[in-house]
Symmetry: C2
Subunit: 238 residues, 2 copies
């Protein structure tokens, strides 16, 4: 069993940017590494959100479902989340204000990884869900140029996020990477924009980072340095 608040990541973000969507780690194995996190699925078939040990797949048709243990993921970042601090939003807060509030409560941690959970009532929610791809795969930047987005005026739900330090760009998504799912577990995706009406925010610092690298030929042949370019990742994952 992995320690609490150890970030376990399968593969690196630049591999997704390079269009490596095959195979990966089984949900069964990833569950042994964390009960909380974000990711995607084989063939880039939607967005993963996990918390309280439940893993959900939010697909490009707007549906959401629990994930079977035999599903696989080419990229996932999870942890056994144990909150170190919790606080309430004090007023209606847009995405930037939420990020600033989190920064205030995690001083001097710019170069650490932070796990973030927010439960509450949200509005002006815009999410995207990457659509399942077929070969030959396009890179993530191209896929997200034509991604289905959904807008919800007002929903009760949960945000699961990771804030990664700038130096980790390409390995992870530098800055905030948030996914959302509604309380009825039927709507959600990768957050493009969101505001909180009222929410409880929980955070934990992850000082141990465990990365499992794929060892197959496709991974080893990819130009991951090129696919770590900050602007392209911000466009695809921002």
């Amino acid at each position: 069993m992995t320690d609490n608040n150890t970030l376990y990541q399968y593969s690196v973000l630049s591999a997704l940017m390079a269009g490596l969507y095959d195979g990966g780690i089984s949900i069964e194995e990833i569950k042994s590494k964390g009960d909380f996190g974000v990711g995607t699925f084989e063939e880039l078939d939607g967005e993963m959100i996990a918390f309280d040990g439940e893993f959900y797949q939010m697909r490009s048709d707007g549906s959401a479902r629990r994930v079977s243990d035999s599903s696989t993921s080419p990229f996932a970042a999870v942890t056994f989340f144990k909150e170190e601090k919790s606080f309430n939003t004090l007023c209606r807060s847009n995405k930037l204000q939420l990020q600033e509030l989190i920064l205030e409560h995690t001083p001097d941690q710019n170069n650490n990884f932070i796990a973030i959970r927010m439960d509450g009532e949200f509005e002006d929610i815009i999410v995207r869900t990457v659509p399942k791809q077929s070969k030959p795969y396009k890179g993530l930047a191209e896929v997200t140029n034509n991604q289905p987005t959904f807008r919800f005026d007002r929903l009760v739900g949960t945000v699961v996020g990771i804030r990664s330090p700038e130096f980790s760009q390409g390995i992870s998504v530098a800055g905030h990477h948030w996914h959302f799912i509604s309380e009825d577990r039927k709507r959600g995706g990768h957050i493009i924009d969101i505001s909180a009406i009222q929410a409880v925010v929980r955070v934990a610092t992850m000082k141990d980072i465990h990365i499992r690298l794929p060892i197959d030929k496709h991974f080893n042949k990819a130009d991951l340095l090129k696919h770590s370019a900050s602007e392209a990742i911000k466009k695809a994952e921002g």
Copy 2:
């Protein structure tokens, strides 16, 4: 106990580039994470080389000694090394030829981390040993501008190295990072150049990367992205 061939790294290379040489992990703790690897010591007091569970400190006065468990390291990369493949050098080989030989024996692993051990007879060995620093610390690039270097014509000894993928520049040293110590454990350092007269080479792929990040203020205030610049690292660690 950590699995064999899991790379355990304390801190990131860019933190050394930024001049963060204080504190760190104790040798006692790092020994629980690996019996083989490279690194440095508090106040940048020399080069670390470890193999067969023995940890040595090679200092800028040319001396070498076993390290006490209470010593600390601001940067170390270790593994429980278990060779997956071994081969002999077939002729006198310079550094580039050794790296090409290793590449031939580790096909399709450009984006993985490789642990390398070479035991044998070497010549034209040039090593540097970083000198102990005092505050205010200069960054590693500036320190290595004036580093003591030593040249040995011919020595029997051991090379411990890590080959890191290009995308990891800043987190580790992209490319080859080799340290050497002589059979009598009295001479060695960070390899600038080396040729093998005859050596046995052992390699293992490390697909699991565990990074422990410092959580102190100095680490979190450093501009690690700036200090990940590839040219500066190549100059300091090449």
